[in-house]
């Protein structure tokens, strides 16, 4: 029962036209009172991405950016937008994909991430968690008796930061969109963990040799916009869910609520995210000046004597794997010509 003739999807009245050029529209942006064709929708999203990158000086010639790419729609959209925004400015961009070891899901994610990088001409380094940490994420979690998502977060943050430090990247690019940030903020607010909100701005600061700053190019881009951008740009991505995703995470419920609110009150989300950014100094003032120490094993940031990655891998495999993981990453970056001053 294939339809999809030229008349498919015809509106009751005239087909909506792009507010900029008059071509058939594929996107409606109620909070900006715009209908947009593919070209002008992409430019609309890219303007938001450019603003975030410009504000932190990430568009200067010679800046080195490492994009964390999962293979999903957010990181695919981010990579596509950053390539279009940053490449003409002489920014050096590379990508890192972490293969979490979740059988079919991880191999499909890896294939999508690699395909996106190949299409966009971005050098991509793939690191297998099972190789770096000694075991795939779910097996590490089982052995240390912690939720898979919690261990996954520790492992991903560690390996991404390690790669950025070894590469000498100015920033790691994360695919968090506006809806993610709003959901994290509400969750932290519900827990009255206000200090944690200080980390939810568009960028975090670098600590040279220890921690690369994290930058969120999709900070002002709605989740639906990121998906639509990925679709209309044609960048490859995997539209699937992690097999270890919790059934009803709080973040998901917050997103659903905010989306209903946005439909009835267009602009409520963009207003929130912009005001949140302006209030970041307030949340930062709640955080002490204490800088993280160095892990006695691997030398990367640690709250105590040992970083979470070394502690988890020591408990799960019998040896702390931070130093090994850093060596593995260094070798892979060197192989790709991305080590230190090479890239």
């Amino acid at each position: 029962m294939e339809s999809g003739s030229a008349s498919s999807g015809q509106p009751a009245a005239a087909r909506a036209r792009c507010s900029v050029c008059g071509a058939p529209a594929v996107a409606r942006v109620p909070y900006a009172r715009l209908s947009l064709c593919p070209k002008h929708f992409m430019e609309f999203v890219e303007r938001k991405v450019r603003r975030v990158l410009e504000r932190v000086g990430a568009l200067r010639p010679g800046a080195k950016l490492l994009a964390a790419v999962s293979g999903g729609k957010d990181s695919a959209a981010m990579l596509q937008a950053v390539v279009r925004v940053a490449a003409p400015r002489g920014v050096r961009l590379a990508a890192l994909h972490l293969d979490l070891g979740f059988d079919g899901y991880s191999s499909a994610s890896r294939d999508a991430a690699v395909a996106a990088c190949e299409k966009l001409g971005v050098p991509c380094v793939v690191v297998r968690v099972a190789e770096a940490a000694g075991l795939p994420v779910h097996e590490l979690a089982r052995r240390v008796r912690r939720p898979t998502c919690s261990v996954c977060g520790v492992v991903k943050r560690y390996l991404i930061n390690a790669a950025a430090v070894e590469m000498g990247a100015d920033y790691v690019l994360m695919g968090h969109n506006a809806d993610d940030i709003i959901a994290y903020t509400v969750k932290e607010f519900l827990n009255q963990n206000l200090e944690a909100i200080a980390k939810l701005g568009p960028a975090t600061e670098s600590i040279p040799g220890l921690a690369a700053g994290r930058l969120r190019p999709l900070y002002e881009v709605y989740e639906r916009e990121a998906l639509l951008y990925a679709v209309v740009s044609g960048v490859p991505f995997l539209h699937d869910e992690c097999p270890y995703r919790p059934r009803a995470p709080i973040e998901q419920r917050v997103k659903e609520f905010m989306n209903r609110l946005e439909e009835e009150h267009p602009g409520v989300k963009i207003g929130f995210i912009r005001r949140l950014e302006k209030r970041m100094d307030l949340y930062r003032s709640l955080v002490g000046d204490e800088k993280p120490g160095r892990c006695r094993v691997c030398g990367l940031p640690a709250a105590g004597e040992e970083c979470s990655f070394c502690r988890i891998t020591r408990r799960a495999t019998g040896e702390p794997r931070g130093t090994l993981a850093r060596s593995l990453i260094r070798a892979k970056l060197a192989e790709a010509g991305l080590l230190g001053g090479e890239g």
């Binding site: 029962m1 999807g9 909506a16 639906r224 998906l227 989306n259 439909e263």
Partner: protein, 70 residues
């Protein structure tokens, strides 16, 4: 006769038939328990549809939920 459309929900990969009154994309999403902000709807050619576009009886669409992923 009210239009009946066949929607493939992704990433769940679940196929449902939905009877609509007005037949708009917005109505389809609401009938699926989603808001307009929750998903992107594509026609069978892969073209994104606007929320007020009217679906025809028998039309097949793909509903990509935005909040999905790792």
């Amino acid at each position: 006769m009210p239009p009946v459309v066949e929607a493939l929900l992704l990433p769940e990969n679940r196929r449902v038939r939905v009877e609509l009154a007005k037949g708009t994309v917005r109505e389809l999403l609401h009938r699926l328990g989603l808001s307009v902000e929750d998903a992107v709807v594509l026609n069978s050619e892969g073209k994104p549809l606007l929320d007020d576009e009217v679906l025809r009886d028998g039309e097949r669409v793909r509903v990509l939920r935005a909040a999905s992923g790792g």
